[in-house]
Symmetry: C2
Subunit: 199 residues, 2 copies
Amino acid sequence: MAEIRTMHEQLLSSIQKVVQLTPEEQQKLISYFEFRSVEKRELLVQSGEITRFVAFVSDGCLRSFSTDDNGFEHIMQFAPKGWWITDMSGFISESPSSLDIESILPSQVLLLTRTAQLELFDAMPKLERYFRILLENSLVSTRRRLLGNLSRQAKDRYLEFGQVYPGLEQILPQKLIASYIGVTPEFLSKLRSQLLRAS
Amino acid sequence: MAEIRTMHEQLLSSIQKVVQLTPEEQQKLISYFEFRSVEKRELLVQSGEITRFVAFVSDGCLRSFSTDDNGFEHIMQFAPKGWWITDMSGFISESPSSLDIESILPSQVLLLTRTAQLELFDAMPKLERYFRILLENSLVSTRRRLLGNLSRQAKDRYLEFGQVYPGLEQILPQKLIASYIGVTPEFLSKLRSQLLRAS
DNA sequence: CGGTCTCTTGACGGAGTTCAAAGCTAGTGG
DNA sequence: CCACTAGCTTTGAACTCCGTCAAGAGACCG
């Protein structure tokens, strides 16, 4: 298991690709975060509970998903090392989450509550800038994904999956990929065998 | 046609629902924007051209859409009065737009270039906060829409359309609504006649 | 081992598409 | 102000993509 120091360095390095921080600012920033280790299969956030934080993944991998009226899960996001994850809707208003967030691998995360985040924005405007840029990029990729679902069929969405989450395809069970691209596990299986035969 | 003064008031009132501005700040803010009137059917942004600005719609209504390889249009967003619209992907990097933005009605917009926006963020941190909050809300609604496309069928997505864009259903041609919810105009027509018969 | 979960494969069914034709609406020019 | 045209909407029949259900074959973990 990685040391906390290493985790903080990962967070800082990720942020400093966007905004520069003095050593004092780095120390101050870190004090807003809380460490947590999450086991495989454990829920970091449970649907229906108040969403208190956004999580920075310094090791492992998580997913957020919603369960529909028929009991089917739909994956909103995967969060491998270096990514952020939360139920944005619940987070911004500190209201009940509509998503579950589950750890796919044993994971280590740094948590930032909404309250702490808003204090941080007042104390360090650079961080408001960092999150503004993060949000811009999230919006771009979510819209790109939406467009893919509107305009492409399952085979193409599957082929593109590997580009958004490089390397993740190898370690994830297929049923999770199926849930992300929006098809049943059975149909993804048929797609794959079709792709194999074609090559 | 509304006066420019009225348009500025709309912009300020929209922003001041989120952050408070002194009269001097209001004046300064306005100076970053550029007015433009757009005719019905006119393209405000053309796919392939550099995306220079984000637009605040003070009157009328616009839409952004992408055209796929088979020539089908897919609507990313409608922007009635009081909404913002741009091709976010092109805007943040001042690169070629992948979307067209077209005026559905005669419209009046206030434009903010990316360069001006970044200057504005340095000059008035409150505005960076405003846009950060705007982005949070856009992300929530885009993700909600994505989830709807993954988990609900066309009839339900159609019934929910009226809630995201209240009143818009009455003034839009059906083919645009079809394109937004992700079905062909023919199929939406069949859905509607089915809903009429049921009631 | 044994049991549960995942992946595969096949037959069938349903949501949504395609293509075509006809009626309707709305803008446009003379 | 009417006539014409172009685009929008409706409807139907055939078709496709993908889902459902079911059964069997692996894979993983205690």
